[in-house]
């Protein structure tokens, strides 16, 4: 919302400075966006006298002028056809910035003749499209007069950001009222003329959409002359960025900005019969005044005559009945439109107009009558003519809001101590009526005030939020207790563990392309975003893996081919509240690092055992009993079927890992192999809380015994079957089993492999005899053979 300082003073009697006003605006909640002072911007541009304008010796279309700026005489080369000796023009010296052409003037030579500035056209000043010649001022204009004085632009423009609740401040008068309440002056009374109508309006108005348009006032004004609006009005409109068009259009714009009262004018000679406000049918078309055409949906607020749809009430008018320079008879519309209906239509057709901006916030319903008179008088004053009586359809909608008011509640809610008298005074100044001390009646222009908390805000924003005394919020206990949820704890621990393993944490979008998601298990249409920013982001992610793979590939394109990335975040299996899971996901792309003098381990290609180790580390950190994990081959289809697995606790899958399916990677355009894992943090069983104490440590006093075994097994037998059988053979005494060799090849039959394990036997009660150790070894061999068909390697 823009307005000028002098415009504000039309409504506010004040001695306050511009800075005092703008500071107070922000303090009131009318946040200052900017101040533009044209006198600063255009300071170098002043009236000058063209002493001489002669043909350029070397260019047909140029003239060499001697310009008297009042302080010096300078030579300027000018291309304008109207440059002539003895004229008064606007001169810009070298160093000035020319806004219309975005040019910084420099001294120079044009075709050999020195030029020290510019005589400017209206277009160069950003005023209009006029560029046939330079600005030609009356002869009696004083040399040195600032350009801004000539054009009435010596008025600072104030721009405020308006919150959606404050409809009343979408007009200069509303802003003045707030400032007056806050001690920045006095609100001047608004003079409302009563225009005596001459005869009934031949054009009548009928409302068939009472909910959407409760009240419509109209009036015919005959024999007008739609010339240019007066300079003062044009200057104000231009200052806030509106282009003057014609008196009638300018008046409607001015009243809208000044009093937050949008109007519309019809060329009465183009209207066919009466005006009817009704709900639109689907598919009605019209050409709008914003140079666009629109087709209605069913149920929009249509302004019609016998010819059909003219425009959309409160949003945009139509070309067919629009006023032009030749309009002689005008029909004025001043109506109240329902904010909800306006918002709905405006959104559906994507029309952002000044009228919509105000109506959807809610204009003053009571003001319709006065505004009709004010607008009529303005038209009569500027365009002449003769007004008919007013025609009224509908009535003022019910808006009166009474609120119980308790001055003590102000302190209870805000903590601010405002004397009761001061509270009443503030409310009165803002236009609230106080039928008694316990109740207020909201002003008709404040449809944002509904309850007692709103009244508190009114009082304290006028006093100023700076007066709120801060009070510290303290923990209930002297030492605060922790506040994490189990989910947050698990996420934090998994995140730390993975970063400690060398993976860097990413944050990627919660969505991805539908096509990509389909490769990673998505099959639920309930998770497609219906209004995505781009088709790359139209499906809620079923897995984080593709985002990480894409990130790694992008890094590889930038020369960082070996990346290890992870993310802990949500994935979605349905749109229901329980359809969101928290998953720690990671990938290893390429090798462990660069080649290194120390050996091949440094640049070893990442394999699935790295990903498996990552998964186990995250699980362990997140509190899963990893000693009980079992591996199985049930990983999702986006993993390589032979090189992937799941980690289970009983039947419960809590992680999966492996090489990403080469077919999927191919679809993604990824050439290298990628190792990945997903840890389902929500699936980790919650520890039953037994307090912080750990189980008592029992250390054996006896020396452990180590024995190695080499088994020959079928190559399809998985090592975990051997290690589990080994432990199972003597659960109480075997403390550790490690696999130290896996061999296929010479010396081992085709289709078989050799697995070598080391078993640590930890005596508990006494040192074991050779015979007892021998017995355990036999049990191990028997158990492994029984479970896996293994034979001891000879």
């Amino acid at each position: 919302m823009k307005f000028t300082f002098s415009w504000l003073k039309e409504h506010l009697d004040t001695d306050a400075s511009l800075t005092q006003i703008t500071d107070k605006l922000t303090a009131l909640g009318l946040e200052l966006e900017g101040i533009e002072d044209p006198t600063e911007k255009f300071a170098p541009f002043k009236v000058a006298y063209v002493e001489k304008a002669e043909q350029h010796p070397d260019a047909d279309r140029l003239r060499v002028c001697i310009v008297d700026t009042g302080s010096e005489k300078v030579q300027v080369v000018c291309g304008a056809p109207n440059a002539r000796t003895g004229m008064k023009a606007i001169f810009a010296p070298a160093g000035a910035y020319v806004p219309g052409t975005d040019l910084l003037l420099k001294k120079g030579k044009i075709r050999g003749e020195e030029s020290n500035g510019m005589l400017v056209s209206e277009r160069e000043m950003g005023l209009s499209d006029e560029h046939d010649g330079i600005i030609d001022l009356p002869d009696d204009t004083a040399i040195g007069t600032p350009f801004t004085d000539i054009y009435g632009m010596n008025d600072p423009v104030i721009d405020i950001a308006l919150t959606p609740d404050r409809a009343d401040c979408a007009g200069v008068r509303g802003i003045a009222r707030d400032l007056a309440a806050a001690g920045m002056g006095t609100l001047k009374p608004l003079t409302t003329p009563a225009v005596k109508g001459n005869g009934k309006s031949p054009i009548n108005v009928h409302i068939k959409a009472k909910e959407q348009c409760p009240l419509f006032m109209g009036r015919l004004i005959k024999n007008i002359e739609n010339k240019s609006s007066p300079t003062w009005m044009q200057n104000r409109l231009k200052a806030v960025g509106l282009r003057p068009i014609s008196a009638l259009v300018d008046i409607t714009n001015y009243v809208s900005l000044d009093l937050c009262r949008p109007l519309h004018v019809y060329d009465a000679d183009l209207l066919k019969g009466d005006i009817t406000v009704r709900l639109s049918k689907s598919g009605e078309k019209f050409d709008a005044l914003n140079d666009k055409s629109y087709t209605t949906d069913k149920g929009m607020t249509a302004i019609t005559d016998e010819s059909g749809l003219l425009g959309l009430g409160g949003i945009v008018g139509g070309v067919s009945t629009g006023c032009t320079d030749t309009t002689q008879n005008v029909f004025l519309e001043c109506a109240y439109f329902d904010p909800y209906a306006i918002a709905k239509t405006g959104r559906a057709l994507q029309i952002d107009s000044d009228a919509r901006y105000r109506f959807e916030r809610g204009v003053d319903p009571e003001f319709v009558f006065d505004a009709t008179e004010i607008a009529t008088q303005m038209i009569l004053d500027i365009c002449g003519g003769e007004a008919s009586e007013v025609v009224q359809a509908g009535d003022v909608p019910d808006y009166e809001t009474f609120i119980d008011f308790d001055p003590a509640y102000t302190k209870k809610l805000s903590g601010m101590d405002v004397p009761e008298d001061k509270q009443y005074e503030i409310l009165k100044d803002l236009g609230f009526q106080l039928p008694n001390n316990n109740q207020v009646l909201c002003p008709s222009w404040r449809n944002d005030v509904h309850g007692k908390a709103d009244l508190v805000e009114e009082v304290i924003r006028v006093i100023g939020y700076d007066s709120i005394e801060p009070v510290s919020v303290r923990s209930e206990h002297a030492v605060a207790h922790g506040g994490e949820t189990p989910n947050i704890t698990r996420s934090r621990l998994a995140r730390t563990a993975l970063a400690a393993r060398g993976l860097s944490e990413c944050v990627t979008w919660s969505f991805m392309s539908k096509n990509l998601a389909a490769h990673f298990g998505s099959n639920d249409n309930g998770l497609t975003i219906t209004n995505p920013i781009s088709s790359d982001w139209d499906q809620m992610r079923p897995s984080i893996l593709p985002n990480l793979i894409t990130a790694a590939a992008t890094n590889a394109d930038k020369g960082n081919g070996d990346t290890m990335l992870f993310e802990v975040g949500p994935v979605f299996k349905s749109a229901k509240t329980d359809g969101q899971n928290n998953i720690a996901t990671g990938i290893r792309f390429g090798s462990q690092g660069n080649r290194h003098w120390s050996g091949a381990e440094a640049n070893r290609i990442n394999d699935i055992y790295d990903a498996k180790a990552d998964a186990i580390a995250a699980l362990e950190a997140a509190g899963a009993p990893t000693g009980n994990l079992q591996t199985a081959r049930e990983a999702s289809e986006y993993f390589h079927p032979g090189r992937s697995g799941v980690l289970k606790l009983g039947k419960n899958i809590i992680a999966q890992f492996g090489e990403i399916h080469p077919g999927v990677l191919d679809e993604m355009g990824i050439k290298s192999s990628v190792m990945g894992f997903e840890v389902f943090l929500d699936a980790i069983p919650q520890k039953k809380s037994k307090g912080p104490a750990k189980p008592l440590l029992q250390l054996s006093a006896f020396q452990p015994v180590n024995r190695d075994f080499a088994f020959i097994v079928d190559e399809n037998v998985e090592v975990e079957a051997i290690t589990r059988a080994t432990i199972g053979a003597e659960r109480n005494l075997i403390s550790e089993v490690s696999v130290f060799d896996v061999y296929k090849g010479k010396g081992v039959d085709e289709g078989k492999k050799s697995i070598a394990i080391n078993v640590m036997i930890q005596p508990v009660k006494q040192t074991l005899t050779d015979k007892e150790i021998e017995g355990i070894c036999t049990k191990i061999i028997d158990a492994v053979s029984a479970k896996t068909g293994a034979t001891l390697r000879g």
Binding site: A453, I468, V471, V473, G482, E484, A500, W509, G526, P570
Partner: protein, 361 residues
């Protein structure tokens, strides 16, 4: 001492001193003190002597034996030292070689900031609450006092999902939450009052330019009890921003604003100064907006099934990325989601460097 012992001593001393490596010294030791050594041989002659002579000569031989043994020990130590020096002089390697690489992972600044915020709010007695990213119209708008069709709904450019066929009306209208305030509703309904929570998580708005990303993170705090007023809100903002930025005199300013779910509403600014295009947080001549806050609207409390005449309190919220950018000098919002490994390594945090109020980190 008899002459032959003197001679023997002289002879052995020469031999010991002549031994120039450990092997030859051992040979000398054996030839002097070994079973067939020269001193041992002399010892063996004692038995045939008379007691007086045996006593004298025995003592002399023992003395000689000790002297030679000491001499050998000294020589041995010297030779060992010499041998070690010899070895060390050959054991020189290039200490400038680079060490074995160990990949170093980093924690994303968003996670780090969330943990910092958690630590700060936990020390004021707030606990964490969570809620789903996919919400419905009721939780995201209506329960938070956004009237249907109100322009405020347009302040949030919402992403929508297909309607839930199993639900009716506002519960069927699925969307991605535009703010974490949805969790206020869920938490109040589930936990009741008094309530003192913070919520942190992903939020979504359909906007993508230099200062907006379609997904971002919010943090918000909610404190409802019988007598919580706006002074508590201001105190909470003051304390938390001072702790977060580590600036004890950081000023905070409230400006009236509008949010449908709070009344009165305010925008919160912290002090700053701007010079030569740079921004410095702290008491200065300018203000920087960091988020919105206010007293929870009575309608919101009512919508959660509670009595707004009995309970009141505040809510405050802000963007986590913005807070991280301000504290850690990260210039561009969009880079948070580009996952460039160079950015992650530079702006990320060591996994051992976890936020801790005790250490002020």
């Amino acid at each position: 001492m008899s002459a032959n012992i003197e001679d023997l001593k002289s002879e052995l001393t020469t031999m010991v001193e002549a031994a120039n490596d450990l092997d030859s010294l051992e040979t000398v030791r054996v030839s002097a003190l070994g079973k067939k050594g020269k001193i041992t041989a002399q010892m063996k002659t004692l038995g045939k002597m008379d007691p007086e002579e045996r006593k004298t000569k025995g003592a002399a031989l023992n003395l000689l034996k000790d002297e030679i043994a000491a001499l050998i020990a000294t020589q041995e130590a010297a030779l060992k030292k010499q041998a070690l020096e010899q070895r060390l002089s050959t054991e020189k390697i290039d200490v400038s070689l680079p060490v074995r690489p160990k990949a170093k992972g980093k924690i994303h600044p968003i996670s780090q900031t969330m943990e910092e915020l958690n630590a700060i709010f936990a020390s004021m007695g707030f606990t964490i609450a969570e809620g789903p990213d996919i919400e419905d119209d009721w939780h995201n708008f209506t329960a938070l006092n956004f009237p249907p069709g109100h322009p405020a709904r347009e302040m949030h450019d919402t992403f929508y999902l297909p309607d839930d066929p199993n639900e009716q009306g506002e519960a069927a209208k699925k969307l991605l939450r535009t703010h974490t305030s949805t969790v206020q509703i869920r938490a109040m309904q589930e936990q009741g009052v008094p309530i003192k929570i913070i919520v942190m998580g992903r939020t979504y708005r359909s906007d993508y330019d230099i200062t907006h990303t379609p997904m971002f993170h919010q943090c918000e705090a909610l404190y409802i009890d019988k007598n919580i007023h706006m002074g508590h809100l201001k105190g909470c903002v003051l304390d938390f921003t001072r702790a977060y930025f580590g600036i004890d005199d950081l000023p905070v300013q409230f400006r009236p604003s509008f949010f449908p779910f709070t009344e009165p509403s305010a925008e919160m600014d912290i002090g700053c100064s701007r010079k030569d295009g740079g921004l410095k947080i702290g008491a200065g001549d300018d203000w920087l907006e960091i988020g919105g806050c206010g007293m929870v609207h009575p309608n919101v409390i009512k919508n959660c099934g509670l009595d707004p005449d009995e309970y009141q309190g505040f809510a405050l919220g802000f963007g986590i990325e913005r807070m991280a950018m301000l504290k850690y000098g990260i210039p561009d919002l969009r880079t948070f989601f580009e996952n460039d490994i160079r950015w992650l390594q530079h702006y990320g945090f060591d996994p051992l460097d976890r936020p801790n109020r005790a250490t002020g980190s």
